[in-house]
Amino acid sequence: MLQALVGSATRWLSDLQRSWHRSRQSTQPSTSTLSAPINYGPLERVLLTDGVGRTLFEEFASHRSEARGDEETGWVLLGLREGREAVVLATLPAGAMRDASVAHVRFNSNAQAVASRIVRQTDRRLITLGVVHTHPGSLRHPSDGDLRGDGQWVANLRGKEGIFGIGTADGPEIAGDLFAYQPRPHVQCMSGLRFSWYSLREGERAYRPLPVELTIGPDLARSLHDFWATLEFHAERIDRLYRQQSGMRFQVMSDKWGPGLLLTLPLAERGDAVQVLIRPKEVRYYLLRGGDLLEVQHHDDCVDRGVYLLLAELAARA
């Protein structure tokens, strides 16, 4: 395999290397902050970043125009939990491999788990806050079935409380509406779509309407959404690799060849690494050694197996 290592980096590889070096500076974990333990009280409001708000309205509208548009869909919400409020900073879609119908949705959690690892590279304080799901009809409130499941699930969350959004397509159509508005503190409407927000604490017998407000900020997972189908396809193997290889890092890329995910696995020598570039149509392997970037002529779409075969080849040559 290594006989076929290409020693001369092409312009494309140089671009990739420069991109990688740029990203190393930007993907360092944020500085940890000292803190006293947070005393979690009942949530009084949820803050959505404008990025998260856009994602929900845009992807709900997009979902309704697709072939499976009459099914339920949804997103897991990641963000920061404070004592009495939460800030939603990332959305993880249900995925194309979700199990769904007009009456239910079960998310593909494999891709969401990997996405959470990627997103949390930027801030290790991010936690799971709750779930948004849609109803094809006009039920603007979580159902009794939701209550049974969520009532147990919230025990897994900080403060034993979750945030739940319900998307419906029964908002009033206002000709030319250019921005969202809130007919009630816990409701957002735009272009005929409506999101109604609730909270549920462990032991409570009903959801509470939760006032929602907007602040400026990103959807930290949005760059992954264009890549989501590919992420779902590789998720289990990527996650296994991440758990087995200490120090593995992710970088989301987008260039003229489309979106991609770059995995970097450090080797024993400082600065050396194996890199795997995952794109919708291919998986490529690279070796970063002594400051040179080498492309490996090694074709294996199973990411973990490909990495271990490459490592075995390197070990045999050491």
């Binding site: 902050t33 803190s35 897991v76 239910h104 991010l126 936690i127």
Partner: protein, 60 residues
């Protein structure tokens, strides 16, 4: 070499930090100048986040 005893608050914080490190892999921060205990962080483990994601129930 100074052997100053910890006061009650410092002792409680250190014990909580050690417990968080042992049970949840939370980082313990150290002053780089004198290696004294600085506190803990708000970091949350991947396991906590992913456990919640994997256990999201079916919604109706």
């Amino acid at each position: 070499m100074d052997f100053r005893p910890l006061n009650d608050t410092e002792r409680r914080q250190l014990i909580n930090a050690l417990r968080g490190n042992a049970e949840s892999d939370r980082a313990i921060l150290m002053d780089r100048r004198d290696t004294s205990f600085l506190g803990t962080t708000e970091e949350v483990t991947d396991e906590e986040v992913i456990s919640a994601i994997k256990s999201v129930p079916c919604h109706y």
